[in-house]
């Protein structure tokens, strides 16, 4: 069991990094990684939302969806969006500092592929509550890692005389591609610990 949880975490975080190998949440990934500080905060807020999402998805899958399977998508997205919005309001009221640091990123995240993807993958795989949360944490940490690395690379590349033809978006794609190549090194990590 412990081995399996380790693998679930490593798989979501490194082997099948949500951004770099599953291609989830790419639009904000490319939009936000221009600045390191923004990327870092987005990543942190993401971990938070993912954890909430995993819990909510598990609840729905367990107690609601067996009766109304066709409402899966719509209920996931409604519940996630509403919960996050509620939490956003709560943070905004109770801790303006935290809100400024992380809260403002919440709306960007809720209607994002990575979050819904997480809910879908976690339920597709039939994870229990604990496994779901671990999976969400792994995915969140992996996303944070990808965001922070990408942002620091792009900030650095902004100082370089990048050729006109690839400056901007194209370079970002190449950088993401190379990062994705590098992450292939994690393939098969901890496959042995499950037994």
């Amino acid at each position: 069991m412990r081995g399996e949880l380790i693998w679930i975490f490593a798989s979501a975080c490194l082997i099948n990094n949500f951004t770099l190998t599953y291609f989830l949440g790419l639009c904000p990934f490319f939009g936000v990684t221009g600045r390191l500080a923004t990327a870092l905060r987005l990543g942190l807020a993401n971990i938070f939302v993912m954890t909430i999402t995993a819990g909510a998805a598990w609840l729905l899958e367990r107690f609601v969806l067996p009766w109304v399977p066709y409402l899966r998508l719509i209920s996931f997205i409604l519940v996630i969006a509403s919960t996050v919005q509620f939490v956003e309001m709560l943070i905004r009221k109770t801790s303006p500092a935290l809100f400024r640091a992380l809260g403002i990123y919440l709306p960007l995240i809720t209607t994002n592929c990575a979050i819904l993807g997480l809910a879908l993958f976690a339920t597709n795989r039939g994870y229990g509550l604990l496994a779901s949360v671990i999976y969400a944490l792994g995915a969140g940490v992996g996303l944070l890692l990808a965001l922070v690395l990408m942002a620091s690379l792009r900030e650095e590349a902004a100082l370089a005389p990048v050729p006109r033809l690839v400056r901007g978006t194209a370079l970002s794609f190449f950088v993401a591609g190379i990062l994705s190549l590098a992450f292939m090194g994690f393939a098969g990590l901890f496959h042995g610990v499950v037994e």
Partner: protein, 331 residues
Amino acid sequence: MSEAPRLELRAAPFLHRGLSTRRLMYEVLASLVPVVGAAVYFFGVAALLVVLASSAGAVLTEWFFGASRRGLGTLRDGSALLTGVLLALTLPPALPLWMAFLGGVVAIGLGKTIWGGLGQNLFNPALVGRAFLQAAFPEALTTWTPPGRDLWSVPASTFAWPFMRADVDVTTSATPLGLAKFAGQPTELEALWFGNTAGSLGETSAVVLVVCGLVLALRRVFDWRLCVSTILGVALLSGVLHAVLPEQCPPPAFTVLSGGLLFGAVYMVTDPVTTPLTPLGAWIFGSGVAVLVVLIRVWGGLPEGVMYAILLMNAATPLINRYSQPRPYGG
């Protein structure tokens, strides 16, 4: 008063230590001569062909993209040639030449040019080339031939038609790491030390690499901290792990001498461009590479992780640089 000659205006300082980037590159290239020699000795003339093909790919690409901007200037500094040679030395001996050439093209194109040329790339170009090849042609890149080949015999796969599949006629064999990981067979340290094992062209002979590394370090061509921290880190980590989990982790001597670790530590971890420039950063980088290498080798799916470890730490280098800034005087 005589008519003064037209003078030259420059900013101070007017003195210079006299070391140049070009000279650094050529010193590294010179130190690679024995490494290439060892490769030819163990794997036959095919090794030389792979080196030539990969260098040609690298140099031609550099020329193609550089010619429009700075004339032939970018070729003279030798860094493209160096990238090509280093890439070749990380490739298997029986690799089709067209793949080696393609690797050189990708190394310079994707690894260097798009970033703005020499000094701007954030990932090690040679390793970008190799990672690309490994992902593109995983089979060819894991086909190893045993050493001790007749000098003039060349495997058929070497001359495969461009973009076409190679027929594998050679007797394949596994690298010491593959043997240890997938078959549980140890390799004698002596073979590792002298290089009488299967593996990439440049990585097999530990003794040559140690000597070249020492020479480069003593001539201050590279930052010794990077090299030392990597090797030391791997030795320490695998020492501890070997003590705890003897059946999963081989002893430190084997870990250090096998695979591409020494080659990577001497030639790739020390690439100035893609590694931190602060002294503390150098230690962090080396330790990071060591941790990742051991992680991938012991728990990962691949037998060898040096390339991925270096690329991943390359990605972290801007962060390391940022947070390992030394405290300024009086700051």
